[in-house]
């Protein structure tokens, strides 16, 4: 569980304005919370705070509190936090430990540090390699991988540690459509296992399918926080610097012409959009000349 209570954070260098302002939000175990917002809205800082990178490594001033699994982030050493929080950062290259020589060893690095038994470690590493699609590259150097493969390695390295909370900052930024679907498939499985997942993601379609809750950040503050369908269907999304979903836009325009049932919520996934349009098109009589 992640719990922010009126949390404000300011970096020690750069602009004096807080990077996060009066954040109050909760991510419960067994749920996926998506965080969206324009560039510079504070998504990466939010990820850094949950994992303890800020303020432990970056420094900075804060007020309010953040607790992860009941432990205050600011008062818990980072290495200790790592036993319950996993962080996947935006740039996978900088997440390679530099201490291991193959993909397999890189995946085991965190487990070795947690003194996990060898047999358990081997089992988990093989399992995670299959999950993230790196089994074929097990003996390659992490530095020989492509950007997308390194991103999958970074995700796998965190998954192997099986933390209770996983934070992913733009995990699909270097992945193709198949890779992105695979990552969100893994997140769905983690959710089933009771893991609290916080994911900063700009591909709204992916969030719409998997997230239970979406938080919109605007200039470091929470602009909206609620169930996925409610938040992603909010007409103010463009004002907050977040491009609306194509399905929502299409349904809204259709509604203007009486081609969408106003009693139905706006769709945020392909399936709900197709259902809604299907219902409407079946109500419209087909002109006699067009009938087969």
């Amino acid at each position: 569980m992640i719990e922010f209570k009126d949390f404000t954070f300011t970096y020690p260098t750069g602009r004096p304005a807080p990077a996060l302002r009066s954040i109050t939000m909760t991510v419960r175990p067994g749920t996926i919370c998506g965080v969206v917002g324009a560039d510079g809205s504070g998504k990466t800082t939010l990820a850094a705070v949950v994992s303890g990178v800020s303020p432990h490594l970056t420094g900075g001033e804060f007020s309010g509190s953040v607790e992860v699994c009941g432990r205050p982030v600011a008062g818990t050493p980072m290495a200790e936090l790592a036993t319950s929080v996993g962080l996947v950062r935006q740039d996978p290259f900088s997440q390679i430990s530099g201490a291991r020589f193959t993909v397999r060893e890189e995946l085991a690095f965190g487990l070795e540090n947690l003194a996990v038994e060898r047999d358990v470690m081997r089992h988990r590493v093989e399992h995670v390699m299959a999950d993230v699609g790196l089994s074929e590259l097990a003996d390659r150097s992490p530095y020989e991988l492509s950007g997308g493969q390194q991103q999958r390695l970074a995700i796998g390295s965190v998954l192997a540690m099986r933390p209770a909370v996983i934070v992913l900052d733009e995990p699909t930024s270097q992945l193709d459509a198949e890779g992105s679907r695979r990552v969100f498939g893994i997140l769905d499985a983690l959710k089933e296992r009771g893991v609290a997942v916080l994911v900063m993601e700009h591909r709204l379609e992916l969030l719409a399918r998997s997230a239970d809750q979406v938080v919109v950040l605007e200039d470091g503050a929470v602009a909206a926080d609620g169930p996925t369908r409610e938040v992603l269907g909010d007409p103010r999304l463009p004002e907050w610097g977040v491009g609306p979903l194509q399905y929502t836009t299409a349904a809204r325009r259709a509604a203007e012409h009486g081609l969408w049932d106003e009693s139905r919520p706006l769709p945020v996934t392909l399936e709900t959009a197709a259902d809604g349009f299907h219902q409407v098109t079946h109500r419209i009589p087909i002109p006699a000349g067009d009938q087969p």
Binding site: A82, V85, R89, F101, E112, N113, L114, S157, V158, M161
Partner: protein, 258 residues
């Protein structure tokens, strides 16, 4: 050309990494124990060379030894050969530079000592998987932080190459054209700045990556590779090699005192 061993291809590769580490240290210490040129030459030809041949790594060993030693050896022969202080037996004179017999002998002695040092550690690196070496050090109780520093140093080449590749690709996407040898040399200038500065800024990210993966939580981390094979024979061999190195140091000290 990779300097790191990739697979277990010979009985020497399969030896416990600590045995090979002790071997490399002992041969180096013994090589430096006597000023004579014959002593390091004998170690090179009678100890290191057979071991390398048996390991099946002669080709890469020769190439890498030449690559690492040649600049030092050439510099030594030029500086010591021509400018050896107090030289009496001058072979040839070229203005103020005088090629002397004493200078050449000194250069040969020093070069051979350095070659023994380089060859010993090339033997270690070419016949030992770095992962196994690091695991062996951790299992022997060495601090994980020191082991990390050593393994990061061994990976500095691939890491720099990967970073340089990323920077070059970005620069080429912005219109940098690299054609021919001159183009490559010219591309080094805009590459150097971001490469070095990038390495510095990456330190913070790397530290964060290490911390979030529980580095330092325990002083006794486990190892994926498990216990490494060892034997009574290897333990005895290590003890003998350490004794040989100690004896070489003792002989050297005795020679100085006397």
């Amino acid at each position: 050309m990779s300097i790191l061993a990739v697979s277990d291809t010979s009985p020497i590769h399969r030896l416990n990494p600590v045995t090979k580490l002790v071997f490399a240290f002992s041969v180096t210490v013994c090589g430096f124990a006597h000023t004579s040129a014959l002593w390091p030459l004998a170690l090179l030809l009678l100890v290191l060379l057979p071991a390398i041949v048996y390991a099946g790594a002669l080709r890469r060993f020769t190439q890498l030894l030449a690559l690492f030693s040649a600049p030092v050896v050439v510099a030594l022969f030029l500086v010591q050969g021509f400018f050896y202080p107090g030289a009496e037996r001058v072979i040839a004179a070229l203005g103020p530079a005088r090629l002397s017999y004493e200078g050449l002998i000194f250069a040969a002695q020093t070069a051979l000592h350095i070659m023994v040092l380089v060859a010993s550690f090339l033997f270690l690196l070419l016949t030992t998987s770095p992962s196994r070496l690091m695991s062996a050090m951790t299992q022997r109780g060495m601090s994980p932080k020191i082991v990390y520093v050593i393994s990061a140093a061994l990976q500095i080449g691939p890491a720099f190459a990967a970073r340089a590749q990323r920077i070059l690709q970005a620069q080429q996407a912005h219109g940098l054209v690299i054609r021919g040898l001159r183009g490559r040399v010219r591309a080094l200038v805009p590459l150097a700045g971001p490469l070095i500065l990038g390495a510095f800024t990456e330190i913070g990210d790397r530290a964060a990556a290490m911390e979030t993966r529980a580095f330092g939580v325990t002083r006794r981390p486990t190892s994926l590779s498990g216990p490494l094979p060892d034997s009574t024979g290897q333990r005895v061999a290590r003890a003998v090699m350490i004794l040989c190195a100690a004896a070489a140091v003792a002989v050297n000290v005795w020679g100085v005192i006397r």
